[in-house]
Amino acid sequence: MAKVIVYPPTSMILSDLVERMGHKALVVPEAVRRLVTANDIDSPPLNVTPEEPKKGLRYAAVDVPSGVRGRMALIGPIIEEAEAAIIAEDPGWLTGCAGCSRTNELVRLLIRTKGVPVLDLSYPTNDVEAKVFVQKIKAFLEGLK
């Protein structure tokens, strides 16, 4: 069983397909869960303490917006854990009220420079593309140890 990071790191489709094929999907909600459900809440309601931006400093410089560093405090450790990656091309709904394009760029860069096997895909727009999408993911995951 390999630890596979999916991009977008909140993707239901990609994380489900990874888990279906018997691997471990590395996703952001797990990192969020550790913070928001910890028994020893330091900083309610979300338990984001001054330690989080410090963790983010490992991946982004101090002059980078705090939003990027804060997000990287959650996503960065997941990238370090990853043994493989599946990256779906930005379908256009990853930025907005809760997204950050600069973080997305940094996440993709860190995954690619990590040197783990990466599968690049686009979200399907029709049935034929969906079949190829699923088949490519199956073949990629079967090739992992």
């Binding site: 239901m12 888990e19 909600p29 797990e30 969020v32 459900t37 809760a98």
Partner: protein, 139 residues
């Protein structure tokens, strides 16, 4: 023991309704919290119990039921829209966007035939060819 929360999301073409999943969980031996939503259910419980339960839920419709992790427990006042004055919670938009693709993904998962080749997308007319057409038209 760590408590985990998962979304169980059904494809819009699946014959399984969120209420069917909720009833299955109520009738099971597992001690978990269930919240029924419009797109599926949210389940919360101990990790091992949830993993075992997910296998049973998936068996209802292997290609039409999808599972996603969630950070906050169901009904958490920090995310529940009832406590925040309405509006979709952050993260719903991602589920909404991906839910539209679920019927396609379900059909692809259930597909057992050969994988068809994707037809090449039509490329724009090269400028040289356009020039030739214009010249032919003018001559």
């Amino acid at each position: 023991m760590m408590l985990v929360t998962k979304y169980v999301i059904t494809s819009s073409e699946s014959n399984i309704l969120p209420s069917d999943i909720a009833m299955k969980i109520y009738g099971s031996k597992y001690e978990v919290n269930v919240k029924e939503t419009c797109f599926g259910v949210v389940i919360n419980g101990e990790e091992e119990v949830i993993n075992a339960l997910i296998k049973e839920i998936r068996a209802l419709d292997p290609a039409g039921i999808f599972i996603k992790d969630r950070g906050f427990p169901p009904g958490d006042p920090r995310r529940c829209r009832g406590r925040r004055g309405g509006g979709a919670r952050p993260g719903f938009y991602m589920i909404e966007s991906e839910s539209k693709m679920l019927p396609m993904i379900s059909r692809a998962l259930a597909w057992e035939g050969d994988i068809p080749a994707i037809p090449e997308k039509k490329k724009p007319l090269p400028i040289k060819r356009l020039e030739e057409i214009v010249k032919e038209g003018l001559s």
